[in-house]
């Protein structure tokens, strides 16, 4: 907005997608219409199953992703920087407890945790506490605890899951705090959003801006309007990653015979590795993965099933893609590697100590 209170000329950007969009649209229509064609009954059924699982994952992620984007945006707009600086200036016990408490109170899956964590990073919350929140919130919230209890009805499995959901995020969070203390974890464009120099989406960061307007998130209006606008762009920016993750997940879920594959695998070590791999590619929501893990129990021991329930909520294909929108590659590799390794070691140990023979 200029000094006379009028909106300046809308900034228009070249939109080069139309040449590619046309074949994409044609391809999509062919896919959709093929569902209606009676080819072979089996093929039709498989295609419909893939589409249903695909749309189911997206539909179910929709509100959680939005909750994450809204939380991230609300923190950005309404939490003053000085408050963060005052209460969360240093890494320590207080921030660890606060991160775990927030993780417990945030009853969502990883779809919401990643954008919310990005919001915390932007607001300069301590790195270790934010990592703890991001990894723990899909694991230790009340909905996940209830579903785990309902699926297994076994206190030992429930306690093991909660214990791992606290210990692994704390360890990885503290390690991330040491490793990335000076380098930062947000991608350059995402970090700039919080720098105060080039906030928002106005393009001033690229140096191509010669207009005069309110420099606060690229959106004008009240704080509430800006919150909605900011959350909306965040939501649309991350949605392609959820869609791509859902596409891969739905293909694998329908086409890969999981139980047949697992039936041929023996040995806790190999089973644990395979279950961590399954957790990554299947990208099951943390609120329902306990029931899925229960269905694997006819083929694997308790430890590998626990590995499935621990690794999946922290790192899977869907949230790795989503993280790539916000975080640097090195940070994502660190999180993925450390989660896989720590889950592998701890669940095998738990199997041999507490669930020997089960």
């Amino acid at each position: 907005m200029n000094s006379s209170g009028q909106f300046l000329k809308t900034q228009k950007l070249p939109f080069k997608g139309k040449k590619i969009l046309l074949p994409v649209i044609v391809f999509a229509f062919i896919c959709i219409s093929s569902v209606e064609i009676q080819w072979y009954e089996y093929d039709l059924e498989v295609l419909q199953k893939i589409l249903t699982v695909f749309t189911g994952i997206i539909m179910q992620s929709f509100p959680f992703l939005m909750a994450g984007a809204m939380l991230s945006s609300a923190i950005h707009e309404f939490v003053p920087d000085r408050l963060v600086a005052k209460f969360f200036a240093a890494e320590g016990k207080r921030t660890t407890v606060a991160a775990l408490f927030a993780a417990f109170l945030f009853p969502v899956c990883d779809c919401a945790a990643v954008p919310a964590a990005a919001g915390f990073f932007r607001k300069k919350f301590p790195l270790s506490a934010t990592v703890m929140f991001m990894l723990a919130s899909p694991m230790i919230n009340p909905v996940v605890i209830a579903s785990t209890w309902y699926a297994f009805g076994d206190f030992r499995i429930l306690l093991a899951r909660i214990g791992l959901g606290i210990c692994i995020p704390v360890i990885i969070g503290l390690a991330a705090g040491k490793v990335f203390r000076d380098s930062g974890v947000l991608k350059k464009n995402r970090a700039e959003e919080s720098s105060g120099v080039a906030r928002g989406h106005c393009g001033c960061a690229d140096g191509g801006c010669d207009h005069e307007h309110h420099h606060d998130h690229g959106a004008e209006g009240s704080r509430l309007s800006r919150m909605f606008a900011h959350a909306g762009t965040d939501f649309v920016s991350v949605l392609p990653f959820i869609i791509a993750g859902a596409a891969v997940s739905s293909l694998l879920q329908v086409l890969v015979p999981k139980n047949t594959l697992l039936g041929g695998i023996s040995g806790v070590t190999l089973q644990t590795a395979v279950m961590i791999g399954f957790a990554f590619v299947l990208s099951i929501c943390s609120t329902s993965d306990a029931f899925f893990a229960r269905s694997f129990m006819s083929h694997v021991s308790t430890g590998p099933a626990l590995a499935f329930m621990t690794a999946g909520p922290m790192i899977d294909f869907k949230n790795t893609l989503m993280m790539s929108e916000y975080f640097r590659k090195r940070f994502i590799l660190f999180i993925a590697g450390s989660v896989a390794l720590s889950v592998f070691i701890t669940t095998i140990a738990i199997q041999f100590i507490f669930f020997r023979g089960l």
């Binding site: 589409l51 695909f54 749309t55 076994d154 800006r226 909605f228 939501f235 791509a244 329902s288 899925f292």
Partner: protein, 241 residues
């Protein structure tokens, strides 16, 4: 051709909301997600509209940060949502994949009200409300249920390669969150003419529970005494939570 960034964001939010409303109004939401998520999904579609309006009105200086690939990825599922309708899943032919297929822990004890009630009753009546908890308990403690009578309704599913031609299974698909986590849950049934029952037909079954050993596990098996056709229920799935 140049299009303002905020316009593209708003259009996508509008169409995503539209696809949610379309799924809801066509009655397809239950095929995709657990009914407990429907209110928050509708609410999020309304919020998406508000976001779109806010971006359109106040985000005039926004830069479009979506690559062509991302735009294509956003467009394809929108067309799937708007152009097709989801299918209902039947139970898998491989009965072994049931989520309650093995008693993995003898100490397991979900002492919920339906389970305690079922343990004390004869006949054991399996309803939509107690479906998962009671069947799960039957797999955990088959001996507690052996000898009791049972009443259950569900879809008849034949194994791909049954070890015994008189075996089939009565099952329902269980949804916890969405179509991605659907798993078949049910019980093995035994009677002489099992193979003559059409695959995936709906029946009410009455019989006696016995404990049988399969693949080194003790599992509950229904010795069928009475079977009758029933219409397919309005909601084919069961929801444990």
């Amino acid at each position: 051709m140049s299009i303002p960034g905020n316009f593209i964001y708003s259009i996508f939010l509008f169409f995503w909301s539209l696809s949610v409303f379309k799924t809801w109004m066509f009655g397809d939401m239950g095929k995709l997600i657990n009914p407990r998520f429907v209110p928050i999904t509708i609410a999020s579609a309304v919020i998406a509209l508000i976001m779109g309006a806010a971006i359109l009105k106040y985000g005039r200086h926004m830069t479009l940060r979506l690559s062509v690939i991302k735009i294509a990825i956003l467009v394809i599922p929108l067309m799937v949502f708007l152009g097709s309708r989801p299918t209902l899943f039947a139970a898998d032919s491989d009965v072994k994949s049931t989520s309650a297929s093995r008693a993995f822990n003898p100490d397991t004890d979900i002492e919920s009200e339906p389970v305690l009630e079922a343990r004390g009753n004869d006949p054991v009546v399996i309803s939509e409300e107690n479906y998962y908890s009671v069947i799960s308990d039957m797999f955990n403690f088959p001996d507690l249920y052996a000898g009791k009578h049972i009443r259950i309704s569900g879809m008849i599913v034949h194994k791909n390669h049954p070890k015994d031609p008189s075996d089939c299974a009565v099952m329902r698909m269980m949804m916890v969150c969405c179509a991605a986590d659907l798993v078949p849950v049910g019980l093995t049934c035994r009677f002489d003419h099992a193979s003559s029952i059409p695959q995936r037909s709906w029946h009410h079954i009455e019989g006696k529970i016995s404990a049988a050993v399969r693949d080194n596990d003790t599992i509950p098996v229904i010795m069928v005494e009475k079977m009758s056709d029933i219409p397919e229920p309005k909601d084919r799935y069961i929801y444990p939570l």
